[in-house]
C-alpha cells in the first residue's frame, strides 16, 4: 500500500473505511426511503494506489466498459470522487432503483438521470460524512455521468510523469436481492492525501484516545 510519499497506515485505512461505511449506510438509508425497498451498502476495504494501478486494477476485475458518476470536491483536501459500475450492471441498478416497473427502453432513457441521482446520493453521503467525521467542510460539484474504460476514467495522461493517487474502495451493493458490484474511487493529489492522512490521525486519536 505504498505509493509516492504518502502511505496510509492500516489503522488510517480502517478509519477511512469506517468513515466511508457511515456514508454509504446513510446513502442506503436514503435510497431505501426513496425506493421503498431493501438496499444494503457496505465497503469492506480500501486501498491507496496510483492512478495507473487503479486503472489496471479495475480493468483486471471488470472486462466490460465502465460507467461512472463523477463529483469533484474541494476543501482542506480536494479531488474527484467516482462511483463506478460495470456498464452491464448499470441498467440493473437503474431498474432496481426504479422498482423494475420500467420497460427496457424506458430504463435506457432513464439511465443517465437515475444513475446521476443514485450516484449523487451515495457520493454526497460519503463526502459529507467524511467532512463531518473529520470535522472539516467540503464543497461538491453536481454529478456527471461518464463512460469509458479504466484508463479514461482515471484520466491516465501518458505525457505527465507525476500522477495522483487513488483511494480505492470496493462497495457491495444489494438492491432488491440484486447484487451489484461497484467501486468508489477518490482521486487526490499528494498534498491533499497528506492532509487527509493528518485528519484521519486526528480522528483516530479522538476515538482511540479515550482508551488511554
Amino acid at each position: 500500500m505504498i505509493t509516492g510519499h504518502v502511505a496510509l497506515s492500516e489503522l488510517e485505512q480502517d478509519a477511512l473505511t469506517e468513515i466511508v461505511n457511515i456514508g454509504v449506510s446513510r446513502a442506503a438509508s436514503s435510497l431505501r426511503k426513496m425506493i421503498g425497498d431493501q438496499v444494503v451498502l457496505s465497503v469492506p476495504s480500501v486501498e491507496v494506489v496510483s492512478q495507473r494501478r487503479a486503472a489496471r486494477l479495475i480493468s483486471e476485475r471488470e472486462v466490460v466498459d465502465l460507467i461512472a458518476v463523477r463529483q469533484d470536491f474541494s476543501g482542506p483536501f480536494c479531488g474527484r470522487a467516482l462511483l463506478i459500475f460495470p456498464e452491464t450492471n448499470s441498467l440493473e441498478l437503474v431498474r432496481a432503483v426504479t422498482g423494475g416497473a420500467l420497460s427496457a427502453e424506458e430504463a435506457v432513457e432513464m439511465e443517465q438521470e437515475a444513475l446521476a441521482e443514485t450516484g449523487n446520493i451515495i457520493l454526497n453521503s460519503c463526502l459529507a460524512t467524511m467532512a463531518n467525521m473529520l470535522k472539516r467542510s467540503l464543497s461538491m460539484t453536481i454529478p456527471e455521468v461518464l463512460r469509458g474504460n479504466g484508463a479514461t476514467l482515471f484520466e491516465i495522461d501518458e505525457t505527465t510523469g507525476s500522477e495522483g493517487l487513488v483511494l480505492f474502495l470496493y462497495i457491495d451493493f444489494a438492491v432488491r436481492q440484486r447484487d451489484i458490484r461497484g467501486y468508489i474511487a477518490m482521486l487526490m493529489d499528494i498534498p491533499s492525501l497528506a492532509t487527509l492522512k493528518q485528519l484521519l490521525d486526528e480522528f483516530i486519536s479522538r476515538i482511540v484516545g479515550e482508551d488511554g
Partner: protein, 659 residues
C-alpha cells in the same frame, strides 16, 4: 410476557451456541450508553458470572480485546455509533485463563426514524480454529508459492487467494472475472479456468502465461479436483496453481542437453563408423593382398614352368616345322606373359611387389617409352613428352615407373574418347616444409612427372575416390579399378606421392612425385647382345627350389646355357651340398618362399660358410622375407618369376661377372 418469551428463547439459543463452543452476544444501548452481555460473553471476557444481563459501562466491550486489535475495533465501533449499519470484524481477545482466542464479531445497528443509531447488537463467535487453519493455509500458500481458487461452473468470477493473484501478476482480490484470469494465459494454451461449461477432462495441467504486472513468461501448473455437490448441479472446480517455470526451464535445458547429447553421440558413432569402414577396407585390402600374394606365388611358379617350357619348345623349333606350331607357341607365350603382367599388377596394387629401385634418369626413361606410348594411345590423341635434360636423377624401380606412367597415359586416353592432347612432362620440384602437407610427402627435392590430358575431367566427389582400389569411372569390364591405386601404391612404396588435379570438363593432371637420388644413373647396358650369354662348366650354380617342375626347368635352362648345376629341393640339403662341394659354387639361386627354411635363412647360412657367395633369389611373391619397406636389401638380387630363358641367362651372367 412477550419479552419473557423472547428471553426464554434467547436462553435456549445461548445454550445451543455455548454448546457449539461458539458465542457470546451483546447489546449496546447507544442512547443510554450501556452494554448488556450474555453469560458466555461475560465468561469469555472474564467479567464474572453476575455481569451477565446486567448493564455495564460500554468500555467493557473493549476490555478483553488484545491491545494490538483494540484501536481497530474502537474505530469500527465508532463508525457504528456514528451511523454505519454493519459490523463484521475479527479480533483477538485474551480469555481469563490467558488464552488468546480469535473472535468474529458480527453486528448491526438499529436506527431511529431520523436515521440516528440507537442500538448496536451482535454476536461473538470463536473462530480460533478457523483462524489457525486459515493461518496455516496462508503460510502454506505464501511459503509454498501455491495459490488456491474455486470456480463454480457457469459463474463469471472465480474465488481466488492473494497468492493466486500474485502468481499471475494480478492485483490481489478475492474474486476475479474468469476472463481476467484467462487473459494472462498465452494464446495457444487452453484456458486456465474452463469457459465452455464443459467439465475439463483433467484438472492437472501446465499452462504458459504472461504475468500481468511484469509481462514475464512463466509456466504455471494447475492441480485440483472437480466435484459435484449434488446430482444435476454444475461442477465445482477446487484447485491450486503454482509456478513451475524453473522446473520447466531445467527440463528444457536437460532436454536440450539430451538432444545435443544424442547429436554428439550420433557424431561420434558416425566417426566411429567411418573409422570402422576405413579399418574394414584396410583389412579387406590386407586380406586381398595376402590372397594376391599367395596366388601370385603359386601362379608365378606355374607361369615359370609354362613360359619356360614354351620358350624351350620355341627354341627347339626348327625351320622345317609347321609354322602353325610356332604361332601357337607364340600365342601361348603371350598369354602367359599377360597372366604374369596381371599378377604383377595385383602385387603392385597391394603394394607387395618387390621393387628394385635404381637410379633412373627420367628423360631417358620417357624417351624409351615413346614407342610403347604411341602404340598404346590412339592416333586421335597427340602425345607430347617434355623432359628437359637437367631433370634430377631419381631412385625408383624403372619397370614399375614405366608401368605407372603407362597406366596414367591409358587413363588419360580413356578420358579423351573424342581425342585430345596428352602431355607427359618431367621437372624438378622442391617441396618446402610448409608444402609438405598438401603434397603428402616430406620436405625435400623431388622430380615431378606430370601426365596431363584435356579430357572430361572429374568432379570433386569422384576425386576423393580415385585412389580407392576397384574404383573406376570406366564402364564395367573396361577397367580393373586398379590403375590409379597401383600408381598410388607404387609412389607410396617408393617414398613419393601422387597428386591429382581435375575439374569437370577441364581435363586431369596427375603428378607423380619421386625423391631425388644422389646417385648418378648407371650407364645403360650396352646394346644388347642378340645371343644369350652362355656360361661354362667351370661355373657351378646351386639351384634350390621346392617346386620340382620349376627346379627342373631352371636346372635345365642353366645346363643348356653351359653351366654346371647342382640342385636341392630344400635349404638343409642345399647346405649339405655346399659343405661337401668338390667344385666351388659361384652362385646360389634360391626360391624365397620355401617350407622349413626360407630363402633368406638359407642365404644367411650359406654366407656364413662362404661369405663371398653370390645369391640370386627367384620369387613369384617374396612376401617380406627379403624386403624392407618394399625394397630389396642391398646386395640382394631378385629375379621375378616367371622368368624366361633369356632373362635368366642375362641375370645369371651379370651377377657372376660382377664379382
Amino acid at each position: 410476557m412477550a419479552d419473557e418469551a423472547i428471553i426464554g428463547n434467547a436462553d435456549q439459543l445461548r445454550a445451543v451456541l455455548a454448546a457449539a463452543g461458539a458465542s457470546g452476544a451483546w447489546d449496546w444501548d447507544i442512547v443510554r450508553d450501556r452494554l448488556t452481555v450474555d453469560a458466555r460473553f461475560a465468561e469469555l471476557y472474564g467479567l464474572g458470572a453476575d455481569a451477565a444481563d446486567q448493564p455495564l459501562p460500554t468500555a467493557a466491550f473493549f476490555r478483553a480485546i488484545h491491545p494490538e486489535d483494540r484501536a481497530r475495533i474502537r474505530i469500527a465501533v465508532a463508525g457504528m455509533l456514528a451511523g454505519s449499519e454493519f459490523f463484521s470484524k475479527e479480533f483477538r481477545i485474551i480469555a481469563p485463563d490467558g488464552a488468546i482466542l480469535w473472535m468474529h464479531g458480527r453486528g448491526r445497528s438499529q436506527l431511529d426514524d431520523q436515521d440516528e443509531p440507537i442500538r448496536f447488537t451482535g454476536l461473538l463467535v470463536d473462530v480460533t480454529d478457523r483462524k489457525r487453519t486459515e493461518e496455516r493455509l496462508r503460510i502454506a500458500q505464501s511459503a509454498g508459492g501455491i495459490g488456491t481458487f474455486e470456480y463454480r461452473d457457469g459463474f463469471a468470477t472465480v474465488s481466488v487467494s492473494s497468492e493466486f493473484c500474485r502468481l499471475l501478476g494480478l492485483h490481489p482480490a478475492d474474486r476475479l472475472p474468469v476472463r481476467t484470469i484467462n487473459a494472462v494465459v498465452c494464446e495457444d494454451e487452453e484456458p486456465l479456468i474452463p469457459e465452455d461449461g464443459a467439465e475439463p477432462a483433467s484438472i492437472d495441467s501446465v499452462f504458459r502465461i504472461r504475468r500481468s504486472d511484469d509481462g514475464a513468461d512463466r509456466w504455471i501448473a494447475r492441480r485440483g479436483e472437480a466435484m459435484r455437490d449434488s446430482e444435476g448441479s454444475g461442477y465445482r472446480l477446487l484447485g491450486v496453481i503454482y509456478d513451475v517455470t524453473d522446473a520447466k526451464l531445467q527440463e528444457t535445458r536437460l532436454r536440450e542437453l539430451n538432444d545435443t547429447l544424442e547429436q554428439r553421440v550420433a557424431q561420434e558413432i558416425d566417426e566411429r563408423l567411418r573409422a570402422e569402414d576405413a579399418l574394414r577396407q584396410a583389412q579387406k585390402m590386407e586380406a586381398v593382398g595376402q590372397l594376391t600374394g599367395g596366388i601370385a606365388h603359386d601362379f608365378n611358379n606355374l607361369l615359370t614352368i609354362i613360359t619356360g617350357s614354351v620358350d624351350m619348345a620355341l627354341r627347339r623349333l626348327d625351320n622345317s616345322a609347321d609354322p602353325r606350331v610356332g604361332r601357337a607357341l607364340d600365342n601361348a607365350m603371350r598369354g602367359a606373359e599377360r597372366a604374369a603382367a596381371l599378377t604383377q599388377r595385383l602385387l603392385a596394387f597391394s603394394r607387395r611387389q618387390p621393387l628394385d629401385p635404381r637410379a633412373v634418369e627420367v628423360p631417358r626413361l620417357l624417351a624409351g617409352m615413346s614407342d610403347l606410348l604411341t602404340r598404346t594411345i590412339t592416333e586421335a590423341v597427340a602425345i607430347a613428352i617434355e623432359a628437359p635434360d637437367d631433370v634430377w636423377t631419381i631412385e625408383a624401380d624403372p619397370h614399375q615407373l614405366e608401368n605407372a606412367i603407362l597406366n596414367l597415359a591409358v587413363n588419360a586416353r580413356d578420358a579423351m574418347p573424342q581425342g585430345g592432347s596428352l602431355t607427359i612432362a618431367a621437372g624438378n620440384r622442391q617441396v618446402a616444409a610448409h608444402q609438405s602437407d598438401e603434397s603428402h610427402v616430406s620436405p625435400g627435392d623431388y622430380v615431378a612427372i606430370t601426365v596431363s590430358d584435356n579430357g572430361t575431367g572429374m568432379d570433386a566427389d569422384t576425386l576423393t575416390k580415385v585412389f580407392d582400389p576397384f574404383f573406376t569411372t570406366k564402364e564395367v569390364g573396361k577397367g580393373t579399378g586398379l590403375g590409379l591405386s597401383m600408381v598410388y601404391g607404387f609412389a607410396k612404396q617408393s617414398g613419393g606421392s601422387v597428386l591429382i588435379d581435375s575439374a569437370l570438363g577441364e581435363g586431369t593432371t596427375v603428378t607423380l612425385l619421386l625423391m631425388r637420388s644422389v646417385q648418378s644413373a648407371e650407364p645403360p647396358a650396352d646394346a644388347m647382345d642378340e645371343r644369350e650369354p652362355f656360361g661354362s662348366a667351370s661355373e657351378t650354380i646351386l639351384v634350390v627350389e621346392d617346386d620340382d617342375d620349376v627346379r627342373a626347368y631352371t636346372v635345365g635352362t642353366l645346363r643348356e646355357l653351359g653351366y654346371r648345376v647342382v640342385e636341392a629341393h630344400d635349404g638343409a640339403s642345399a647346405l649339405a651340398l655346399l659343405d661337401k662341394q668338390d667344385q666351388p659354387i659361384k652362385l646360389l639361386i634360391t626360391d624365397v618362399v620355401m617350407p622349413r627354411m626360407s630363402g633368406s635363412e638359407l642365404a644367411a647360412a650359406a654366407r656364413a660358410r662362404q661369405p663371398r657367395l653370390r645369391i640370386l633369389y627367384t620369387s613369384g611373391y617374396p612376401r617380406d622375407a627379403i624386403m624392407r619397406d618394399g625394397r630389396l636389401d642391398s646386395g640382394v638380387e631378385l629375379l621375378a618369376k616367371p622368368f624366361t630363358f633369356r632373362s635368366l641367362a642375362e641375370r645369371v651372367r651379370e651377377i657372376i661377372d660382377k664379382g
